[in-house]
Subunit: 344 residues, 4 copies
């Protein structure tokens, strides 16, 4: 942190700043320039952010500049090499593009199993499906709960695909852990810090979606909650941010993919289903995400999207999904990747 | 809901739409115009939103238009007269402007009690203070927990002010209910639906902050979670939305105040401390909120903001708060209101 | 500007930075800390912004921090005392709240003159009205052009009110200058730099609206175009920014009012008509703006808003405007201001 | 347009609506449902948008719903087949991916010609370069003006590449037309309607960038200005929108590419240089845009980006551009496209 004094600031003001810094258990390092004095702050404090904001308001201060990044364990500086997460035969974060597909919400055993079979046949290597669903309205479908988890377990057994499913609240973590291979934390819960603590205490990989209005930095700080509890297996998932544009449900921020890969060693995948909210945009955005370097995709597939209980408008049917998988292989190859689970 | 067919759509497409509507247990009502056919959808279904999105993607459909509002119990249509919530001697939602003030986070008994006394003396009628704090970084201060609640209980006993304090997670609701007069649900938890369910099951008034990127409609749907559990005492709190502007921490949406009052019968207050993130903007925005019709204010006050563990940059000191209260009275009077607890 | 090197940067990288800074005609000032080296950049260069971005990408650089503000003539530092702009008997930027009112677009002489009379009677002190109208669609009404200016001239003569009217393009500046007392530059033209140059060359006060997605800094830089051409009379006008919320047409950023007053010496007014796009929100937001310290208001008034050719939905009729003016006086008084032109 | 009455509306209110519609020269078409009356509005009026807003505020109205799209000539409905624009040997809008590359701003003849040669050698088929530059600050470089155009003419002659260059203001259109093969209208001028009128009167193809906060609909309405003047050759260019995220300069909205291709018959290209503002993100986003179906790319290239007068931070050097072109070919092939000008 660097405190930049304004041109008119005097000795008294500088002394007050130094006193305030030292009161926080840190050291002040003065550098007097021609035009103004600059004060470096050295040391570590848990209240850094708040100290920074306070200093910014003290008399004589022009600006306070943070140096370095507030997240640590998730940063490239902390770990230069990529984290690769293994789930059964699948590796996320390496050279493969991992496709996770399935219904938004589990409705019936038939729906879940037929979808699991279809996505496996088309080349998906992880099954997605929701038993606990966040819903904007209390009057909408909120998922089958534990019954849904049991259905997903059958679908998993039937196909051998590992399962990613959402956990909504801390009290459910122990239950969901028994069924899931990857615990999903949704966009609305990205800053549900108690939930992050809880999934951080498990040994399961966590798929953490970006919050609707979260900056990359806030997202990596949310990741930090999980990592600092001891769970180092986090997969980030870009799912669209909220902007002024209403034609798409969200704006899928493709630039977040290479940005996160620069800032962090953790894998990042994209969810073009929620990211666009429109079925016809899922395939082009899936291809774009892979071309930009995504480590995987999360895709909603439903036997009959028109009658889906949830998010039918953004779900692909089996044929559309198969077609997408066929298009995906050459795009992955064109950027030196391969789609996991396909062929050999 | 109205389904508008495009000009080229034919009988087959119209028949498919009608079939789909009836399959959802609803009735279709055709109106054939000169240029195009319009289909009204009559009836009630929990999956309305998803049906709407599905219909929009069916062949021959130009647009699907939702009629009416998706929230019910919170709407003015459901209840034309204002809801007034009584907490001890204080009434929120009537003619008085209720000021809730206190520290962002409880740090020590001294800090809490001295602040409580100061805000009471200056005319606040509710004490605010956080024991459980959401924090963007896991390395920042997260509050004193139950110890903080006990300190707040002393401050409340000392001053007689009722207490509003945040509950972060469903498992803490039973604990916080024992101390709080109003349960605060923060912006990051506005769509923590399980938490909304839980506070909805209590008999305590709930102060529900607007999510950082929540539309008015999403906010009222979150309110609906609480109301539909049987708790009809919800106070909305505008606390700033996220926009592209970075000079202020958030953009306090003053227009949300009269808008919510038009759409809903529930009281709405404003939080200019979080809404601006800058101490020098708190007073002008507080006055603006009251001039626009706010039923109250939530203000952060700290004995020595420069050394606060949390949000010092947006906290007022005692003198600044006293000055704000002095300015508030004539502004409230100028719009036909009075500040609660002041004078007789 | 301060260049912060990362912890691993070596002598070679530091030397390259210094060379780059000196190549731009500036001086580098090294300060070697315990953990890292910090390089101050001293001097002035027109390409500062681009140099900053370039330095940020050079090897070994952690961050480049801008010191100070990029705008000058408009800043409080440059001129501590408020600029007060006089137009006839009206002073903008002093203790009075100046209300500018009139139709969005001039339609007929009757409409313009009757509105001018009505707003004058209710206490407005400047007449607004558009002859050249920006319109999102080429198929909508684009204004009467010079004929509209002539009608406005009659309305001005009739009432004695000075006139503010929009100029859309550089080629029209000389024409509009003959009719207007204040030249309005609209939100869509805030970064029409050639137009800013042109109005900067005139001696007329300029009312510069904030662009729909302009930061405060970008806005003040746009002001700087006008000031640096020699015209020091600029009035800023907050008219709502674009956010994700769609209930209101824009989100009126009330916090911009005290923020601009802190950063700049120029007057700032608010336009709650465009800022909300909804007639019933105009009055509460107008009161809020004045309570927050606005130097004036820009309000759309129409004899029969329901049949207005443009922006009827956000226009007040005569009676509504009169009621607003009556509410305004006590609010202005409550913050130590008075409405210009009212009473004595 | 459909006017939906609320449940409590009576005959008087319905009659008023009908009268208002007829007063605007349109016909009202009543449909009385079980719960409420719906009124269809038939006919064409230039003031449709304003009528819609007015009706929405009339007593008894629940909602007014626009049917169909406000833009016409640019819509897929108006012209189902893709528009292909030919400039010399280059076709934009067909099966080829057209890469337009060159410096942000022309600085010297050497810089322009060496860059033109380098981008041609690497496979670009159009030269880009700015002589008139919009600049946020009046103190920054604003381009060489006509001298810059002359330099670009030499670079064009030298390489045979057609030229795209920006025109900033209506008065310059006749000048720029003499040098440019494609007239660029920048993001800040997307709603400079007078400029759109002017370029619409020329016979040159127009490259129209999306405004920083423009919706797809507003963008297509801006296109409509050009088309309705008789110039049917418009290329849209997605260049990033403004969001809350600050890590990237803008958020490149990749979903706009397939969306525009669905809504319109016109070609769309992407500008990942402005779209990201960060050199290291240009290549991944360029690949993403092509994978999503972009008809071309606009890329900033500079011999020595670190010393560029403008936008060096987002410019590629010759080697980086060559590498990008090498990566581009297989990605284009993977989605059934080829890069224009490469090979045969």
């Amino acid at each position: 942190m660097i405190v930049v004094m304004n041109k008119k600031s005097g000795e008294k003001e500088i002394a007050d700043i130094v006193k305030r810094i030292e009161a926080a258990g840190l050291q002040a390092h003065l550098s007097e320039g021609v035009e103004r004095t600059v004060i470096g702050v050295v040391g570590v404090s848990p209240m850094f952010q708040d100290l920074r904001e306070s200093l910014a308001l003290m008399p004589g201060v022009e600006e306070v500049v943070r140096i370095g990044k507030p997240y640590k364990l998730s940063s490239r500086e902390f770990q230069p090499e990529d984290t690769v997460i293994k789930i059964g035969n699948v590796s996320i974060g390496g050279n493969e593009v991992v496709v996770m597909a399935g219904p938004c919400a589990v409705e019936t055993e038939d729906q879940a199993i037929s979808t699991a079979r279809a996505v496996k046949a088309a080349g998906a290597s992880v099954l997605r499906g929701g038993a606990f669903k966040p819903s904007t309205s209390p009057y909408s479908f909120r998922g089958l709960g534990e019954e849904g988890l049991k259905i997903l377990a059958s679908a998993k057994e039937e196909t051998g695909l590992p399962l990613v499913t959402e956990v909504l609240t801390p009290a459910d973590v122990q239950l969901v852990v028994q069924y899931a291979d990857i615990l999903q934390v949704g966009a609305r819960n990205m800053q549900n810090f108690i939930l992050l603590d809880e999934v951080g205490k498990t040994q399961k990989p966590v798929l953490l979606k970006r919050g609707m209005s979260a900056t990359l930095e806030e997202w990596l700080l949310a990741v930090e909650y999980v990592l600092s509890e001891g769970n180092r297996q986090v997969i980030l998932c870009e799912r669209g941010i909220r902007t002024f544009e209403t034609y798409t449900r969200n704006t899928l921020d493709i630039s977040a993919i290479p940005s996160i890969q620069k800032l962090s060693h953790l894998p990042i995948i994209a969810d073009p289903s929620h990211g666009t909210g429109r079925r016809e945009l899922v395939a082009p955005l899936a291809l774009a995400a892979v071309a930009a370097g995504a480590n995987g995709l999360l895709i909603e597939v439903h036997p009959t999207p028109d009658t889906a209980l949830k998010d039918g408008a953004q779900s692909l049917d089996f044929e559309q999904f198969e077609r997408l998988m066929a298009q995906l292989a050459p795009v992955a190859a064109s950027v030196g990747r391969r789609v996991a689970g396909k062929g050999g």
